[in-house]
């Protein structure tokens, strides 16, 4: 069970949140010039990293705002949370 720290509301139970998958996937600025392979990469291909992973969460049953988290996908430990548009904090050792 995860305790996730919403940047606005503080630590809350995982059941209040919904998951948004990999973070920092940029929507194509000129979609009409994209090749099929580039579309496939944007729509479907995911890093799916084993280890430290930056991902999106939404505090769906709280303030309903989106934010990013850096989490280890093996231990499930959340190292940091940061707001959308902010630079991710340096990884703690």
């Amino acid at each position: 069970m995860l305790i996730i720290e919403c940047p606005w509301c503080g630590p809350r139970d995982q059941t209040e949140f919904s998951y948004g998958g990999e973070a920092h996937i940029v929507r194509p600025l000129q979609p009409d010039t994209l090749t099929d392979a580039e579309w496939a990469d944007y729509l479907f291909m995911r890093s799916n990293t084993k280890g430290r992973y930056r991902e999106q969460w939404c505090h769906a049953h709280g303030c309903r705002r989106w934010f990013n988290a850096e989490r280890d996908t093996v231990t499930y430990r959340i190292d940091s949370v940061y707001k959308v548009g902010e630079t991710p904090p340096e990884p703690k050792q």
């Binding site: 998958g21 479907f44 291909m45 995911r46 996908t73």
Partner: protein, 416 residues
């Protein structure tokens, strides 16, 4: 290979069962093979078995980072069925079901395949429309399927609550009588024994750490037990497919999630078939030992930890109790998680990769166990012939670029 029979049982009883041969050898890896299979789960071992049996390629190594069958093969709910909606997947899973039907005899190993039927419940008008549609599609593909009324369900499963007072009343179900369950460990062991007897080396505790390549073709793998050369590498790594693909510089449309299941204390026989419900999300069967085997949904987050969150189990158990009020005081014995490799269209990727000599069989997500023999059968063909079989042609990685997805979320049965 020592054949198992009534006579061999009697003969070994005389020697107090101390002279049984080991079911498979434990060889050191050779420096080179004709083909390497990465991943010693059911699918990987089946691939090696059919490579040797159907295609005469016996100089093969199966590399397993842990022990064989210790991943998702030993972590599923053992349900076997072939009631998929679209032609491509229906044909693939039906091929697998046909192989299941003769598997114990073929392997000379009892995989305890029990065709006790698989029932998919409907709880709303839309559920029932989907059930009738899928059932009709199955019959058009020559796959057995019936649509049951609540009374017919009650006759088959007397402990189920079909009353209209239920929060999600049962309106009907689809039923595949040829579906059922099998003993998952026996499937891995049977394929391992069969492959080993034909000369395949099964190498456990051997983790692949890199893929070697030259001029766009693979030449071998780096492992925790040294470099092993091979011109053909078949990767069947389930939840770790993205990790291996990354070693080859290939991006995959896969996300790895925890999928949990749990079993109860043993009970007297109360449930003679497999009952699944997409609507309230739960599926349950009773093992031959008497335990209820209950499958939960996947956790929404990516996880390689082979464990999930309790909230998923809570929701799942609530659904099971809603369907079977008699289970409300059953105690659960143990619970576990596997790492499932989920594809965006809930269908597998079985085919060639952009690197020459590299093949992937992955993306089975929440429903790979039922496909074990068929998956190995088509993948062995793909590796041996260097081109897909007609049954797995549509399941290429290329479909995510072309857009020819095969949407099986409805038939996949597990909430994503």
């Amino acid at each position: 290979m020592q054949r198992y029979s009534l006579f061999s049982l009697a003969r070994n009883a005389v020697s107090y069962h101390e002279r049984w041969q080991r079911a498979w050898r434990s060889p050191d890896p050779k420096p080179a093979y004709d083909a390497i299979i990465v991943g010693g789960g059911g699918h990987g071992l089946a691939t090696a078995y059919y490579l040797a049996k159907e295609h005469g390629i016996t100089n093969v190594a199966v590399l397993e980072k842990g022990w064989i069958g210790g991943g998702n093969t030993g972590r599923n709910t053992t349900i076997v069925r072939s009631n998929y909606l679209w032609d491509e997947s229906a044909h693939l899973y039906e091929k697998s079901l046909q192989l299941w039907e003769g598997l114990s005899q073929d392997l000379n190993y009892n995989v305890m395949f029990s065709q006790r039927g698989v029932m998919n419940l409907g709880h709303s008008l839309q559920d029932m429309r989907d059930i009738v549609r899928r059932s009709s599609a199955n019959r058009l593909n020559g796959i057995d399927s019936e649509v049951l009324t609540p009374e017919q369900i009650k006759e088959l499963v007397p402990i189920i609550d079909i009353s209209s007072q239920a929060r999600y009343p049962i309106l009907g179900a689809s039923f595949q009588r040829r579906g059922g369950v099998a003993r998952h460990d026996a499937v891995a062991w049977g394929f391992a024994r069969g492959a080993d007897a034909r000369g395949v080396d099964i190498i456990q505790n051997c983790e692949v750490t890199g893929i070697q390549r030259e001029n766009g073709v693979v030449t071998g793998v780096e492992t925790s037990r040294g470099i092993i050369k091979a011109p053909k590498i078949g990767v069947v790594a389930a939840g770790h497919s993205s990790v291996i693909a990354d070693m080859a510089g290939i991006r995959m449309p896969i996300e790895s999630h925890p999928l949990q299941a749990l079993v109860s204390e043993p009970l007297k026989p109360v449930l003679h078939t497999v009952v699944m419900s997409n609507g309230v999300h739960g599926y349950v069967s009773q093992s031959d030992k008497g335990e209820l085997v209950v499958g939960a949904g996947i956790d929404s987050y990516i996880g390689y930890g082979q464990r999930g969150s309790l909230s998923v189990i809570e929701g799942n158990v609530a659904a099971i109790i809603e369907l079977f009020p008699i289970f409300s005081r059953v105690r659960m014995l143990r619970q576990w998680g596997g790492i499932v490799d989920v594809c965006p269209d809930a269908c597998p990727i079985i085919g060639k990769m952009p690197l020459g000599g590299l093949y992937f069989n992955c993306g089975w997500g929440t429903g790979g166990f039922k496909a074990t023999p068929g998956s190995g059968w088509v993948f062995a063909h793909t590796i041996a012939q260097d081109r897909p079989h007609a049954l797995n042609e549509a399941f290429s990685l290329e479909r995510f670029t072309s857009g020819a997805l095969i949407d099986e979320h409805g038939a996949a049965g597990v909430a994503h």
